[in-house]
C-alpha cells in the first residue's frame, strides 16, 4: 500500500462522491420542497447518459453532446412532471413510490426498445483521455479529475442559487408554505415544474458524465439510485448540505472499502478468508454505515431546517 495508490483511491472516491451528489441534490430538493419521492430519478440519469452518447455520435463533439443532453433531459423531466407526477404531490408517499416504480419499468423498456438491451460504449475524445502527471510518479486520469472539479463547481452554484437569488428565495418560501407563496401571487405550479426539470437536468448531467466511464445500459439508473438513497438518509432528507456531505462520505467509504478492505483484512485473518470476506464486506459497507448513523442520529447528519 503506497502513497500513490491511496491518493488515487481518494480521488476516485471524490469522483463517485460528486456524481452521487448531483443525483442526490435533485432528489432531495424535490423531496424537501414538493414532498415527492421520485424513484424514477434514476431513470432521468439513464436518459441523460443515453442522450449524451447519442448526441455525441451525431455531432462528433463530446462537449457539445453532453451540453445538448442537459436541456433534453430537462424537457423529459418537465414532461414527466406534467403528465404523471403533478397529481401525486397531494398523495401519500406509498402512492408516490408505487407510481414512480411504474415509471421506472416504462423508461427501462422504452430505452431497450429504442437503443436495445446491449450496453452502449463510447470512447473519450483524444484530448480528454490522457492522464495528468503530478510529478513524483503520480498521475491521474484527466477526465475523472474534470468530473470532480465540475461537481464542486455545480455544488457551489447550487448553494449560490438557493441561498442568494430571488428564485432560490421563492423555492425556499414554497417549501415552508406553499399556500402563502401562491397567495402572494407566485405561480407555484410553474415553479415546481421548473424545479423538477432542474433536478432532472442535474441527474442528466450525472448521466452524461457517467456515460464514458460506466456501462450505459437499461437499468443503470437503479443501481445508483439506491446508493443515492443511502446518501440522502445519511445526510438528512431535504438538505442540500446534507446531500453533499453524505455523497462525499458514501463515495469515499465505498471506494476505499473496495480498494483496501481486502488487504487490511488479510493482515488480521488468513488471506483465503480475507479473499472471500473482503469483497462481500466492501459491498455492504455503506449500508452498515447507514445503519450506524441512523442508530445514533435518526434524522441524518444535517437535518433540513423547518421540517
Amino acid at each position: 500500500m503506497n502513497l500513490q495508490l491511496v491518493l488515487e483511491q481518494i480521488l476516485n472516491g471524490l469522483q463517485l462522491g460528486v456524481m452521487l451528489f448531483l443525483m442526490a441534490a435533485g432528489l432531495t430538493l424535490v423531496f424537501g420542497i414538493m414532498n415527492l419521492v421520485n424513484l424514477a430519478h434514476g431513470s432521468l440519469y439513464m436518459v441523460g447518459a443515453y442522450l449524451a452518447t447519442t448526441f455525441y455520435r451525431w455531432t462528433g463533439s463530446f462537449v457539445l453532446g453532453s451540453l445538448l443532453a442537459l436541456p433534453a433531459t430537462l424537457i423529459v423531466g418537465v414532461i414527466v412532471e406534467v403528465v404523471a407526477l403533478r397529481t401525486l404531490y397531494e398523495r401519500d408517499h406509498l402512492d408516490q413510490v408505487l407510481a414512480t416504480f411504474g415509471l421506472i419499468l416504462f423508461f427501462n423498456e422504452l430505452i431497450a426498445i429504442i437503443w436495445g438491451r446491449v450496453g452502449l460504449f463510447t470512447d473519450l475524445p483524444q484530448w480528454l483521455s490522457g492522464s495528468l502527471d503530478f510529478g513524483g510518479g503520480f498521475s491521474y486520469p484527466l477526465y475523472r479529475l474534470l468530473i470532480v472539479m465540475l461537481g464542486f463547481a455545480v455544488a457551489l452554484l447550487l448553494w449560490y442559487v438557493v441561498a442568494r437569488t430571488r428564485i432560490g428565495m421563492l423555492v425556499r418560501a414554497g417549501a415552508s408554505n406553499r399556500m402563502m407563496v401562491a397567495a402572494l401571487g407566485v405561480n407555484i405550479r410553474l415553479l415546481y415544474t421548473l424545479l423538477f426539470g432542474f433536478g432532472a437536468a442535474l441527474a442528466g448531467l450525472a448521466g452524461a458524465m457517467a456515460a464514458p466511464i460506466y456501462a450505459v445500459q437499461p437499468g443503470m439508473g437503479e443501481q445508483i439510485l439506491i446508493q443515492v438513497f443511502v446518501v440522502i438518509v445519511i445526510g438528512g432528507i431535504g438538505s442540500i448540505r446534507g446531500a453533499f456531505a453524505g455523497a462525499i462520505i458514501v463515495g469515499a467509504v465505498d471506494t476505499l472499502g473496495r480498494a483496501f478492505l481486502k488487504p487490511a483484512l488479510a493482515t488480521l485473518i488468513s488471506p483465503t478468508a480475507a479473499q472471500a470476506a473482503g469483497p462481500a464486506l466492501a459491498s455492504i459497507l455503506i449500508y452498515l454505515l447507514m445503519a450506524l448513523i441512523l442508530a445514533l442520529r435518526p434524522e441524518g447528519l444535517f437535518p433540513a431546517r423547518g421540517h
Binding site: 423531496f31 419521492v37 404523471a84 397529481t87 401525486l88 398523495r91 408517499h93 406509498l94 402512492d95 413510490v97 408505487l98 407510481a99 416504480f101 411504474g102 415509471l103 421506472i104 419499468l105 416504462f106 423508461f107 427501462n108 423498456e109 422504452l110 431497450a112 426498445i113 437503479e222 439506491i226 438513497f229 443511502v230 440522502i232 438518509v233 432528507i237 472471500a276 469483497p279 462481500a280 459491498s283 455492504i284 449500508y287 452498515l288 447507514m290 445503519a291 441512523l294 442508530a295 435518526p298
Partner: protein, 313 residues
C-alpha cells in the same frame, strides 16, 4: 352481514383454488397448476406484507429480503446434504425472523419516507451479499440440488401434491394473520398505525408491538421464500432484487390494503397480467408500467373493494 359475505367470498376463492388441478388435468393445461402455485406463493408473501403495511402502517419496500433469506436457507442446507424439509423450512423461517429483527430494530425507529428508503437499502445490501457469495453461485445463482423432503409423506416433485401443500399453507397463513389482526396484539398495532402519540398516552409503547409484527411478517415471507425456491428449483440473488419488493408491494396495493383476500387477489392479478402481456410482446413492461401508474392514481380501494363485504373491518 358484511363479515358473512366476506366469509362466503373467501370460501368461494378457496373452492376455486382447490378445483384448479383437476380442471387443468381435464383440459390438459398443466401449465396453469404451475402458474397458480406461483401466484399462491407470492400471495403468501403479499399477505405477510399486508400484516405490517395494512394494519401496522409500515411501508416495507424490502420484503424481497425475506424471500431471499428463506430461499438461501433451503438451498444452502440442501447443498450440504440436509434435505429434511421440516428442518430446512424451520431454518428459513427462523433466519428470516432474525434478519427482520435486525432490519426492523433500526428502521422502526424512523417512519415515513425514511422507513421506505431504509428497508429498500437493507434489501439491496442483502442482494449484494448474495452476489458476492461465490460458494453459492454468486451472480448466477445455483440449482437447488433436491427439493425439500418430508419423510416420503409429500412429494414436492409431484406438481399437484406441491400445489395442495402451498394452498394449505396459504389458507393457514391467511387465517393466522386474520386471527393476529383481531387479537389484542393486532389492536395494539392498528392503534399505533392510526395515532402513535395516543397509543403512548394510553400507556403502551408501540415500538415492541410494531417490531414483533415486523418479525412475524418476515418469518411468513421467509416461508414463502422456501416455497419459491422449491417451485423454481433454482436459486438466484434476483429473489432479493428490489424490483421484487416493488412487485410484492404492488400486489398488496392492487388487491386492497388491509383486507383478508386482497393481497392474494393482487398477486393473482399482477402475475397473470405479466404472463398475458409477456405472451403478447417482449416489451411488456412498457405496458405494465403505465398500467401500474394508472392503478395507483385511480384504483385507490383495490380489487377487494369490489367484492361483496370486501371492506369489512
Amino acid at each position: 352481514m358484511r363479515s358473512r359475505a366476506r366469509k362466503l367470498v373467501l370460501l368461494a376463492m378457496l373452492a376455486l383454488l382447490v378445483l384448479v388441478p383437476p380442471a387443468a388435468a381435464l383440459l390438459h393445461q398443466l401449465f396453469y397448476v404451475d402458474l397458480l402455485r406461483r401466484v399462491m406463493i407470492f400471495g403468501i408473501a403479499a399477505v405477510s406484507l399486508d400484516l405490517i403495511l395494512g394494519y401496522g402502517g409500515m411501508v416495507s419496500f424490502g420484503h424481497a429480503a425475506y424471500l431471499g433469506v428463506g430461499a438461501y436457507a433451503v438451498t444452502v442446507l440442501a447443498y450440504y446434504g440436509i434435505h429434511d424439509g421440516l428442518l430446512q423450512w424451520a431454518v428459513a423461517i427462523g433466519g428470516s425472523m432474525l434478519v427482520a429483527l435486525a432490519i426492523g430494530a433500526v428502521s422502526i425507529r424512523t417512519s415515513g419516507i425514511y422507513f421506505i428508503m431504509i428497508t429498500l437499502a437493507f434489501t439491496q445490501m442483502l442482494y449484494y451479499l448474495g452476489i458476492s457469495l461465490d460458494v453459492f453461485g454468486g451472480d448466477n445463482g445455483m440449482r437447488l440440488p433436491e427439493r425439500s423432503q418430508f419423510f416420503g409423506l409429500i412429494n414436492l416433485n409431484n406438481g399437484t401434491e406441491f400445489y395442495y401443500l402451498v394452498l394449505t399453507i396459504l389458507a393457514a397463513v391467511v387465517l393466522l394473520v386474520q386471527r393476529l389482526v383481531e387479537s389484542r396484539f393486532g389492536m395494539a398495532i392498528r392503534a399505533a398505525k392510526s395515532n402513535e402519540a395516543r397509543s403512548r398516552a394510553i400507556g403502551f409503547s408501540p415500538y415492541p408491538y410494531k417490531l414483533a409484527a415486523f418479525v412475524i411478517s418476515g418469518g411468513i415471507c421467509g416461508l414463502a421464500g422456501a416455497l419459491l425456491v422449491n417451485h423454481t428449483a433454482y436459486l438466484t440473488p434476483d429473489f432479493m432484487q428490489w424490483t421484487r419488493s416493488g412487485e410484492i408491494l404492488f400486489m398488496v396495493i392492487l388487491g386492497g390494503v388491509g383486507t383478508t383476500a386482497g393481497p392474494v387477489l393482487g398477486a393473482f392479478t399482477l402475475l397473470v397480467l405479466e404472463d398475458v402481456l409477456s405472451g403478447w410482446t417482449e416489451h411488456w413492461q412498457i405496458i405494465l408500467g403505465p398500467l401500474l401508474v394508472l392503478a395507483v392514481l385511480f384504483a385507490k380501494r383495490g380489487l377487494a373493494g369490489l367484492l361483496p363485504g370486501g371492506r369489512g373491518g
